[in-house]
């Protein structure tokens, strides 16, 4: 049977917009060392290393090769996995699978991005650039995707622009309590509402930053967990799902323009959560979950995900704002870390969602700790409609 597994350590660098003083390898090593320290383990107890990032963002082919010197992979098993923005959660799901075989003692998963070394814009553009569909492709930025979600929410009267700004302030407040977060600055509702428009109703302050940093997790099967950890975050379930029905081939992108099946991104997020709920008998997520981390590439997305993962009824997101339910002291805190809106080093972002839930379960959240966390959910979303859902518990 499959082994029960737990996260026994989490490590992160401090996230910034630039880190010219360290190489990519040195930066990754910081997260690895932090994870080992957090788990009170040495690299000797690790027997597999799984790495993930976006190849063209730093221009590294088979980056796990060069990184072997700093990732700890030397003479250990492992390989690289990559999807889109969900790369970090794909690494986690891979690590969880490996751990559940019981064939390994401890597995290290690493997600990172050093966006100060490349041109993220050009690398992102390469997603949809096409020789044959050579016109009209530049309109497909992440901002366009979020705009369509935002417009839809406004039409449905799910949320007001002011409420979105209030949620953005919540994200900033949480980030200020998280020493690792990138944007740690107090902002006001007025500042958010007066920030420049990107594509109405989307504003600059709603969007995630371009960050540099790395995240690492250590996962072990039960037998090893009992030996090495007195504070494991048990990974009860995980799932990964891909939702694009018609890929961005050339200029055709119904992926987020309204399709007969709705925006695909949202669809995969909802599916990921639904699978986890169904398999784990969760019928009232707002009540049964103590903390939630979502992949909020923009403030609007966080709010859309509230509905998609059933923290409230459809069109009722505004109620969660009115009740301040998703605030740190609310009944269902979302993104105590400050979320992707505060920190976005792409390859690390999705892993940080899972890592933060583990941190909360382990009671290591410091100023941002949510009291009495027994069970938490992380849901991620990334380019080409990849999503993952991970359920983490204090005890199984």
């Amino acid at each position: 049977m499959s082994e029960r597994i737990a996260i026994v350590g989490v490590g992160q660098t401090h996230f910034k917009s630039r880190r010219p003083e360290v190489s990519e390898l040195e930066m990754v090593n910081e997260a690895v060392m932090a994870a080992l320290e957090n788990a009170e383990l040495t690299i000797k107890e690790v027997d597999a290393v799984v790495v993930g990032n976006m190849e063209l963002f730093e221009g590294d082919y088979q980056v796990d090769m060069w990184l072997a010197g700093g990732s700890g992979a030397y003479l250990k098993s492992g390989f690289k996995v990559q999807t889109g923005g969900s790369t970090g959660s794909s690494v986690c799901c891979t690590v969880f699978d490996l751990a559940a075989t019981g064939e390994f003692k401890t597995i290290l998963g690493i997600g990172f991005e050093k966006q100060d070394e490349g041109s993220s814009q050009a690398s992102l553009r390469s997603i949809h650039e096409d020789v044959f569909f050579d016109v009209g492709s530049s309109g497909k930025s992440a901002a366009t995707a979020v705009q369509s979600v935002a417009l839809d929410m406004m039409r449905r009267k799910s949320i007001t622009e002011e409420q979105v700004a209030i949620v953005r302030v919540k994200q900033a407040e949480n980030a200020m309590r998280n020493p690792h977060a990138h944007l740690r600055k107090k902002i006001t509702v007025e500042e958010v509402m007066n920030s420049p428009k990107l594509a109405w109703p989307l504003r600059v302050f709603h969007m995630c930053p371009t960050s540099v940093g790395a995240c690492a997790i250590l996962v072990a099967p039960e037998l090893q967990v009992k030996k090495v950890s007195n504070n494991p975050a048990w990974v009860a379930d995980w799932t990964n799902i891909h939702g694009a029905i018609q890929p961005f081939y050339g200029s055709i992108t119904p992926s987020w323009i309204s399709t007969p099946l709705g925006p695909m991104w949202a669809w995969s997020v909802e599916q990921a959560a639904n699978r986890i709920y169904k398999r784990n008998g969760i019928t009232n997520p707002r009540k049964e979950l103590d903390v939630v981390e979502v992949y909020d590439m923009a403030t609007w997305a966080e709010i859309e995900w509230w509905e998609r993962i059933h923290l409230c009824e459809r069109n009722d997101a505004h109620k969660l704002v009115e009740e301040r339910a998703t605030w740190l002291d609310g009944d269902i805190p979302v993104n105590p870390s400050g979320g992707v809106t505060s920190t976005n080093a792409i390859g690390a972002s999705a892993m940080q969602r899972i890592a933060e839930v583990a941190i909360q379960i382990r009671g290591e959240g410091g100023e941002r700790q949510v009291p009495n966390v027994r069970q938490g959910l992380a849901v991620t979303a990334g380019g080409d409609m990849y999503s993952a859902g991970v359920l983490i518990k204090k005890s199984l």
């Binding site: 044959f132 016109v135 530049s138 309109g139 366009t144 081939y249 050339g250 992108t253």
Partner: protein, 165 residues
């Protein structure tokens, strides 16, 4: 000698240059040849769900079955259609290597072509710069380049122009 932080943060500038010779493959080649030689937009139709797939593909992503290259599976779409979304280009992207602007300054149009279904949306550019002229539901038509200038790319269509019906 003990290590101290270096006085400077050195870096290496690198440009990765990869030449590609991409084949469009069978289905996209049919699509592009029709554009180039006949000024027609073709799509294909899933034999199971009858969804129309634009650009044509060998497989229906939804049903995961092959859309065989048979006459009954091909559909010719009109070059007229309805705007579903229009996105203005507020800030033009500059290529970090060449310093040139990327793409055209024209707004990006998503056009649901007549003769298809809710899936047959083509992304292209609008003739005029004013986004507000292209509200959802506006009717537009493709303006083709002259036959001799067409190369078998979607840019063989110059842009979409508003039409009155």
């Amino acid at each position: 000698m003990n290590q101290k932080a270096p006085d400077e943060n050195l870096c290496v500038e690198q440009i990765i240059e990869l030449p590609f010779n991409e084949s469009a493959g069978k289905y996209i080649s049919i699509f592009l040849t029709k554009i180039r030689d006949e000024g027609k937009i073709v799509a294909n139709k899933c034999p199971v769900c009858h969804r129309i797939v634009l650009p044509p593909r060998i497989v229906c992503a939804y049903d995961k079955v092959e859309i065989e290259d048979r006459p009954e599976n091909w559909v010719e779409l009109s070059d007229k259609g309805t705007v579903t979304d229009c996105v203005g280009i507020d800030e033009r992207e500059v290529d970090t290597i060449t310093g040139d602007f990327v793409g055209t300054p024209n707004p990006i149009l998503f056009v649901r072509l007549d003769g298809g279904d809710e899936w047959t949306i083509l992304g292209h550019i609008a003739e005029e710069m004013d986004v507000s002229k292209y509200p959802r539901g506006a009717r537009v038509q493709a303006i083709w380049k002259p036959q001799q200038e067409r190369q078998g790319k979607t840019s063989d269509i110059q842009f979409f122009r508003l039409i009155r019906e």
